[in-house]
Amino acid sequence: MENIVQKINNLTIGFTSQKGEQISILKNISTSINKGETVGIVGESGSGKSTLALAMMGYVKHGLYTISGECLYHSNNLLDMNNRDLENIRGRKIAMIPQNAGQALTPNLKIGYQIDEALKLHTDFKKEDRDKKISELLNKVRLPSPEIMAQRYPHELSGGQQQRVAVAMALAGNPEILLLDEPTTGLDVTTQAHVLELLNVIAKDTGTSMVYVSHDLGAIARVSDRVIVMYSGEIVLDGPVRGILKNPIHPYTFGLLKSIPKLTSPGLPNSMSGSQPQPGIIKSGCSFFDRCNFAEDQCKSNTPDLEYLSDIKTSVRCFKYRDLINMKETKNDKIRSLNNNILENEILNISEVSITYAKQKFLEQLLNKTEDSNPTVKDINININKGETLALVGESGSGKSTILKSIAGLLKTKDGIIKFDKDIVLSNDLKKRDPANLRAIQLIFQNPDESLNPNHTVEEIVSQPLKLYFGLSGSELKQKIIEVLDKVRLGEFYLTRYPRQLSGGEKQRVAVARAFAAKPDIILCDEVTSALDVSVQAAVLNLLQELKEDFGTTYIFVSHDLAVVRAISDRVAVLYQGRLCEIGPSKHVYELPSHPYTEVLLGAVLEPDPDIKPKLVAEDIVEEKPPEQGCSFQGRCPRILGDICKKEVPPWQMGENGNSIRCHIKVDDLKKQQTIN
């Protein structure tokens, strides 16, 4: 077949452990990439997807080595080549786009110069041609005014723009294959949707084959023709995107899809139990056996092979795939609906809160000037009832975490009052807050690697709030710790473990346990699931919901992920540039009519379904500062009315379903405009 650009045969890559055992990271991988095809490689962390992508460039990470097999690029084995020959292929024939373009670009060289370097290295153009080519490339990745852009430094660009520059650099050598390693993971939803659209267009225009590595099935669904699902270093499923996402015939993929929260089906997603086995643990049998709902005895002893089913052009590594083919969604999805007991008691009242990061200049300090007319967060009015889950949604820079920090007392507010339990005014200064009020509000952070002290055992971590607030010690303390850990489903043997000995999900459970140990009334969750794998995310969301139902805790949940928010929250507040845009019951916020910004956000959500296309209604500009006057969203609003939006702060309007929208456009008009498109 001449169509094949890259072919991988029986590739096994691994390392030798300290005990001298050979442990495989990739096991017997065989697949091929056709010309002009976009292949998505999907898997959770530790599945070996990045190792595979790097092997496609002939690169094996330090410490790993090729045990067997080959990686052929047009019949040349990349893994056997010397560095000199590889240099001629990398960049010219196979180019890579890294995950974090901000770190991949040299900070003190201009964009134009960096692209020029790539051109010098990979093409034979003369100087004048190269200059022309730079503009052409920047145009191709849809960066505005290429000549000006070429003179900028990386830090002067936004994350999305940096990623575009990285794409432009990769395209400089006119490669045959483009490897993308989680290219949109760190980006905002709207930016992500735009970058993916761009990649689609480039794939079509240039006929480049693309290998798109990601943990995000939504992103994969947008760009790929074919999907390879990896689990524990093996390919478990390989086939056309539609078939795999619509009717996944491998139990892992089936479970994975079920664990993704979706806008279209509210309620908490099902979680998969367990976690991916560490490399080297599974000696025989199916590596998914422990977590599989369909497993039989033979799965434990016999290792399934990758079987090709010609009728659906899919390869699957499972004995039981027929059960899944025939199932066809008949199994009723037990999606948990929220069962929150919301009391009428107001537990937290945030009124007229403004927060500024602006530091006073020395002179102003002397003159005692404190005015910052344009603070980062302004005019926030939210009241939260006991037992409710309120979500704060917005892109990065929307001030959602800032508000959370102010509630916790970590950041001083400029104006406004935060009241707890109707009449207790929470002090601006953490030190002046009453210990009882500190106990009542606990925080859970995004990344458990950062929020758990690496030198403390689980016991020490959970004991901190118990010792501080309740003065427990000795056996009483230990008893209580075991009790709290039990609530988050961690057994007693976790007590002496250090965070580094735990998996991501277990670490986050410990963080949850620490927060609950204080018996708080309110828990502030700052992007608690965004550092976790999809299947783990579902488990943590379910756990949080169960704990809430048991204890009647109130959650304030910050997230950029609208689908996660849809799954867990009762009420949603949408923020843009530190200003509230819309607030209301989550069911209604996700329905039309909505604030133009909510509309933009909802349009950009990527669902793991090839039939649902994102609607890109606004440019993905990143604004540095909120506008001085008028509506905060005026710079990007697709439905802008004109001068009124630029001059006057829009009024709050009640939507028909109890959601409030802050816009100059009448709610009825909004609905009309939005339903037409």
Partner: protein
């Protein structure tokens, strides 16, 4: 995760494990052997010295090494071997306690500055910078000439001058952890600064500070010997390597043994401490010589 019951390791087990890791590499093993040899020597030498270290005998002046006087004798007829094996005692004691003091004040001030930040940090660090610009040996000479050369003066004085560098290291290490969420979390819970330092910061910066302290020890040893060499360290007739080198250097051309023996003693101890400190750093996972991953 496998359900293995793990026992909490006692502090002795941890220390033993660290020493085992240190000894697993040749350089670490050599360092440990040299250092423990010197420590052992310093502790036990008074019990088996062959001669009196201060017995002056003009008839035995500058004898070459022989079976009777292994390292020969010095210009006053004293046995060099006796004086060499005793010569490390004062230096080792003074610098050990000196670096302990440096570690404690440098470490705590560094952590404190790193934690509070802001103006206090600025002011303290500028004062430290100002001190760093004073040549330490001049300052030491001033202190010693004002207060005398007793150990009580030398230990805190050396500890103070060598602690300045530790302040910087401790502060930098604290800055690395201070922005982490677990510190933010402790703050939000309402822990006091002292409790945050003790529970959250110290376990994470302890290793870096200890390694820095071990490195300072060897520098301080050299510094102390320099002082003795200049006549401001220990006073005669106490045997001390720096002093011995100073006394014998004029006669180096024909009585090389009197200067060679203390030089060997001093340099082997410094090499031993350096190798041990290096192995210590590696055993704790603070390797300064690691390469970039690619």
């Amino acid at each position: 995760m496998e359900n293995v019951e793990q026992k909490q390791k006692s502090i002795f087990q941890k220390v033993f494990e660290i020493i085992k890791t240190m000894a697993s590499k040749p350089s670490g093993l050599i360092g440990l052997i040299i250092l423990s040899f010197h420590v052992l020597l310093a502790l036990t030498s008074p019990f088996y010295v062959p001669y009196d270290y201060k017995a002056i005998d003009p008839s035995l002046m500058l004898q070459a090494p022989s079976s009777e006087y292994w390292f020969g004798t010095d210009s006053l007829g004293r046995d060099v071997f006796t004086r060499t094996i005793l010569g490390g005692r004062t230096a080792l004691t003074v610098t050990f306690f000196g670096s302990l003091i440096a570690l404690i004040w440098g470490g705590s001030l560094g952590i404190f500055c790193g934690l509070v930040g802001g103006k206090i940090d600025d002011v303290v660090m500028r004062i430290i910078d100002a001190f760093l610009s004073i040549p330490w040996i001049l300052a030491m000479l001033l202190i010693v000439s004002l207060l005398g050369t007793t150990t009580i003066v030398l230990i805190p004085a050396l500890g103070f001058f060598y602690g300045k560098g530790i302040v910087r290291v401790a502060r930098a290490a604290t800055h690395d952890v201070i922005a982490k969420d677990f510190i933010v979390s402790a703050r939000a819970r309402g822990h006091s600064n002292l409790s945050i330092i003790w529970n959250e910061i110290l376990p994470n910066v302890r290793d870096a500070i200890m390694v820095e302290g071990a490195m300072r020890w060897s520098w301080m040893l050299l510094g102390f010997s320099s002082l003795s060499f200049l006549g401001f360290g220990v006073s005669p007739p106490t045997p001390d390597w720096g002093l011995m080198i100073s006394n014998a250097r004029g006669l180096m051309s024909f009585a090389y043994w009197a200067v060679l023996a203390p030089i060997f003693g001093l340099s082997s101890l410094i090499i031993g401490i350096n190798l041990t400190a290096d192995a210590f750093a590696k055993a704790l996972g603070i390797d300064r010589s690691t390469k970039a991953p690619v």
